[in-house]
């Protein structure tokens, strides 16, 4: 394999399965046995934390779980840390799903928050109401934004929402904040029909690949804060002083990134050395 071009060719054309094996080891190792490396707190997360701190007891937040279960695994630290802040502050939550898999999420999320629910006596029906999967498309978001009670009369278990804190909500403008956790489902619809139309402040917890797109929304003032992926969640856990799954996964996160960088360096040294030595013009991707 390494006849023409020698070691450089080997470095430039390493088998991609090496990437898989190394990544698997450096991610699995720290997850089983965390090292506890220090982390830096980004300005984005500090701003997110500050925005949540503007909420007062009794404020009503439209809490939209725009994620599938797979996306939840990436957003989990941010979701849990944000809800710990909501529960501690006594904020009222109107929880909606943007995906049919959302029906599996409350059991999982509230099980993780059980200690906090018990500590602050935070109850379904009084402090939070789950209205279920109400965002199948943009028309539904627009309709709900304009006339909440015309579109939602019962919670996800079929109980009437009359006589609850949701009586105060006539349209999207009556919410004090929108807190969205997204893999890219109904978020743009909510920006179009709730933020632009009613001026409700909206904070976003987004998966990594959607962060660049949401940074533009943040810069334009459409979002007031952005929590970026698992790392943002870990930073929020640190800020609220409640370590969780995010901080536990940061060692794996760090080592995963560094190992990828090593593969990139190795590949480039190989590419440079091989093409310089042999004058080869061939593409030197990994196999």
């Amino acid at each position: 394999m390494a006849k023409e071009g020698g070691i450089y060719r080997l470095m430039a054309t390493y088998d991609k399965r090496w990437v898989y094996v190394v990544l698997f080891i450096v991610v699995l190792g720290p997850l089983i046995n965390p090292i506890g490396m220090p982390i830096g707190i980004s300005a984005l997360t500090k701003n997110y934390y500050a925005q949540l701190n503007t909420l007062q007891e009794g404020d009503i937040v439209f809490d939209t779980w725009n994620m599938e279960f797979s996306g939840y695994m990436e957003l989990k630290p941010g979701v849990l840390a944000t809800h710990k802040m909501f529960i501690e502050k006594g904020v009222k939550l109107c929880i909606a799903f943007g995906h049919y898999e959302g029906v599996a999420l409350p059991g999982e999320i509230f099980k993780q928050l059980q200690t906090w629910l018990d500590r602050y006596d935070y109850r379904e029906g009084e402090d939070y109401i789950i209205i279920g999967y109400v965002f199948p498309n943009e028309a539904a978001v627009a309709a709900l934004a304009q006339d909440f009670h015309a579109n939602v009369r019962v919670d996800w278990k079929g109980n009437s929402i009359e006589g609850t804190f949701l009586d105060d909500i006539q349209n999207a403008g009556d919410f004090d904040m929108i807190s969205d956790y997204t893999t890219g489902l109904a978020t743009t619809y909510m920006i179009n029909h709730m933020v632009l139309q009613y001026g409700v402040p909206m904070v976003e917890n987004s998966i990594g690949v959607s962060v660049p797109g949401h940074l533009a929304n943040l810069d334009a003032g459409l979002l007031t804060a952005l929590l970026a992926s698992t790392r943002g969640g870990a930073e929020l856990e640190y800020l609220i002083g409640s370590p969780g799954p995010g901080l536990k996964s940061m060692d794996a996160f760090t080592l995963g990134h560094y190992s990828l960088m090593i593969f990139i360096i190795v590949g480039n040294i190989g590419h440079y050395g091989w093409t310089r030595r042999t004058g080869a013009k061939d593409r030197t991707g990994i196999k």
């Binding site: 980004s42 029906v103 199948p136 498309n137 709900l144 304009q146 790392r231 996160f253 960088m261 593409r283």
Partner: protein, 203 residues
């Protein structure tokens, strides 16, 4: 076409002229649209059964998977309708089958993305070298440990994402929006009729 134009105006105009009765009418129309949209799932299920049925009848490549698909579709739909979304059996199907599979597919992406990243970041030209340097700085910043020892990396990474990255992201958003507006205008003026089920020249 008339229905389309009137419906469009009823929803579009209240954004610029807030008038009570018009707002009410627009709200009603959107609620009707939302409810009607929810029923389209029935059409989706019907279409899937028809398509898979054709695959199975003609024994095309992968026809066995279509049987598997229809059986699972039937199980999830029937258990949801008969038992309800809060029944133990339905929740079990969701939590023990659907959600782990969904998470596994998502997790596997990390390996493909890492391998694709390692392959893409090669300094084959001056432009590629610039991309490599920018990508490397952002990647270095994304590793949580880096920020703890080199806080200055955040400034460099933020500069790259807030200037080059954001300009491209905005260009993409603006292009998509303009495309959507153009499509909307074509639909309203009758130049685009495929969405109504007509082919070119037929109306």
């Amino acid at each position: 076409m008339t229905v389309l134009v009137v419906s469009f105006l009823l929803v579009f105009v209240p954004y610029f002229i807030p008038w009570g009765p018009l707002d009410w009418l627009s709200g009603k129309l959107m609620t009707i649209a939302a409810v009607t949209n929810a029923f389209t799932i029935v059409i989706a299920v019907y279409s899937q059964f028809r398509r898979s049925g054709r695959f199975i009848r003609e024994k095309r490549k992968g026809w066995v998977y279509h049987i598997y698909l229809l059986v699972l579709l039937a199980i999830m739909t029937l258990s949801g309708f008969i038992l309800g979304q809060h029944a133990g059996a339905y929740e079990w199907l969701l939590l023990a089958v659907v959600t782990p599979l969904s998470s596994v597919i998502y997790g596997i992406l990390a390996f493909y993305m890492a391998s694709a990243g390692a392959r893409a970041f090669r300094a084959r030209s001056p432009q590629a070298a610039l991309l490599l340097v920018a990508g490397f700085i952002v990647l270095l910043y994304q590793a949580p440990l880096t920020g703890a020892f080199f806080p200055g990396i955040e400034g460099a990474a933020t500069y790259i994402t807030n200037t080059f990255g954001m300009s491209v992201s905005r260009m993409f958003s603006i292009s998509v929006s303009i495309g959507a507006i153009v499509l909307g205008v074509r639909m309203l003026t009758g130049r685009e009729v495929a969405f109504l089920g007509f082919t070119e020249g037929e109306e």
